[in-house]
Point group: C3
């Protein structure tokens, strides 16, 4: 009934339950990269997880963004706005939060429907 994909010891990166799809909080592979690169990396991961769930960007319902420092809001948005395009914009919330490693500048979580 519940599909768990990319499962580590601690969490599943992708959960599929009926028509509901949700991801874990995603962080960059390189926590020394600057904000634009980390944002691109994390959005790429989100795209790949959506694809594994069999949905495209048009199935995305909502995105939660945490920034380690809201001073990166503008630079993150440059990358985000280009990624999200001009249709099928999901709901979004973006707030500041201390992240698991001081090098992480951004963490993103996504919800979709298929």
């Amino acid at each position: 009934m519940i599909e768990r994909i990319d499962v580590s010891r601690r969490a599943s990166k992708l959960i599929i339950a009926g028509d509901r799809i949700e991801t874990s909080g995603l962080v960059a592979n390189d926590c020394r990269a600057p904000i634009r690169e980390q944002t691109r990396d994390v959005l790429d991961q989100l795209d790949r997880l959506l694809k594994k769930a069999g949905v495209g960007r048009e199935g995305l319902l909502r995105v939660q963004i945490w920034l380690a420092d809201m001073k990166d809001f503008g630079a993150m948005n440059e990358v985000y706005d280009a990624w999200v395009g001009d249709k099928n914009q999901p709901a979004r919330a973006c707030v500041g939060a201390q992240l698991a490693d001081p090098g992480y500048l951004i963490e993103i979580q996504g919800w979709a429907k298929r």
Copy 2:
């Protein structure tokens, strides 16, 4: 299949997908207003979005509240408690977080079912 309402360049303020309703993080129109006024403004916005989705307060499942400073917890709750009333209380979480503009004191996101 997914309805997007109040769509800006960056996000949809309201998403309706089947019986699921979710909003973006909502902030006050006047980011110089004090906490009680910002709370009332944001809860008014939430009410209006629920109405657009065709549900009333009784369809509200959950509310996420972020405060720029948890010292405003008491003042926010005065307004929130009066708003939520004594029936149909949704699930709730409220934590502190840096918000997009230093003037924003509160951000609220809501989930409902119709």
Copy 3:
């Protein structure tokens, strides 16, 4: 259509809407306890709420964790990893946030499907 369980003046600790189950943000009963004890207490509360909703750990879809200070990440994870076991791992996000009382070190919210 929506069941509300453990309802206080301000919020319902457990919401059941069709096959969707969600909890409020849960905090420890003893806000002077150290992080491991607070984590155990909150995970116990989550287990009890899931049970009230008629689901076990295998129905858990996602967990949101807030830590008052991410320095507690390692100690919290010791308790979390033992609790979550090696199957049915839910999606997870964990970020730092100021909590309602300075004594609270952790807050957890859960989503499940029955």
